[in-house]
Assembly symmetry: C2
């Protein structure tokens, strides 16, 4: 089973962080708009169980993602199942219809402009996202996908890179939670 | 909204029906194995609500299908949402994992060898399936997908074609219901 080890930091000076990433050898990608539609489960209260289900549109690409409960208190480590959907016009609306027929209901749409970068740190390829999130703010996310044997090493790696980049005051809440004003 | 108008008939002599279809101008396709894994909903009793959710593997192709309750007593008319999934090895198992994480649980696997044919009847393209279903039997299905304005005409068309092909004693139960011995 694979886990997402992730930390997210609010950032005032996104350009400054991008410069520090470039100094570490990263190439910052083009900005891409991502639209995430989140759903409530027919009976489980995802806010309570700390799970999430969303469909994402990124240009013509589409994905469906389930996130399981966070399994520690510092990072956002959790089980993640991320599956591609067909890259066709209409996929987003068709899947909204499928999920609604099954009793899931839309709870919020997170829209952001994301630039991606990869930094090799402690022999790992850390995925970095520089995010400008509509109605929420600007953030940097650092992420590794690892199996359960590498969880501790992955957390150490992320924490060390964050320090190097001058990131602090990590935010455990999701963009959806921030958007909906949950605490 | 689109509906599936379908009738299914138990058939002893599948070769005889195939001949009658060919006499009407149909070309019978190659046999293809279809594996359908059906799921129970986390709270709705699909046997009670007359709905269904399944994932299908057909060679490298994969689909996910939701079927709503039947809306009449004679044919198997119902709402259907049928969406393609990526044609990749591993898709079937990955989707089983996704659905299980969301609280759906597998209830039965229907495996059949299906040959398809199309017959133009009353100006409509009727999809015909000649099915040999493991542990269930041999059947012919006649199907049209239409919008709600064409439901009556579609039912008339299917009934008339069935008569022409010598099909009778239609079966309303699904292959899954027949497999599980539900009445």
């Amino acid at each position: 089973m694979y886990y997402e080890v992730e930390q997210k930091f609010p950032v005032d000076d996104l350009a400054g962080v991008a410069e520090r990433m470039e100094a570490l050898g990263a190439t910052i990608g083009e900005a891409q708009v991502e639209v995430d539609l989140y759903f409530a489960h027919p009976v489980r209260d995802f806010a309570e169980t700390d799970e999430a289900l969303r469909i994402r549109r990124k240009g013509q690409k589409h994905f469906i993602t389930y996130k399981g409960p966070k399994i520690d208190r510092t990072t956002k480590t959790r089980r993640e199942i991320d599956l591609p959907l067909p890259a066709e016009a209409g996929t987003f609306e068709a899947w909204r219809g499928m999920l609604e027929a099954l009793g899931f209901s839309p709870v919020g749409e997170v829209r952001k402009s994301r630039r991606k970068a990869h930094i090799t740190w402690q022999d790992r390829d850390v995925e970095c996202s520089l995010d400008e999130v509509d109605r929420v703010g600007t953030f940097v996310e650092l992420e590794l996908i690892v199996d359960d044997k590498q969880l501790d090493a992955a957390r150490t790696c992320i924490g060390s890179l964050a320090e190097e980049l001058g990131l602090f005051a990590s935010e455990r809440r999701s963009y959806l939670e921030l958007l909906l004003g949950r605490t």
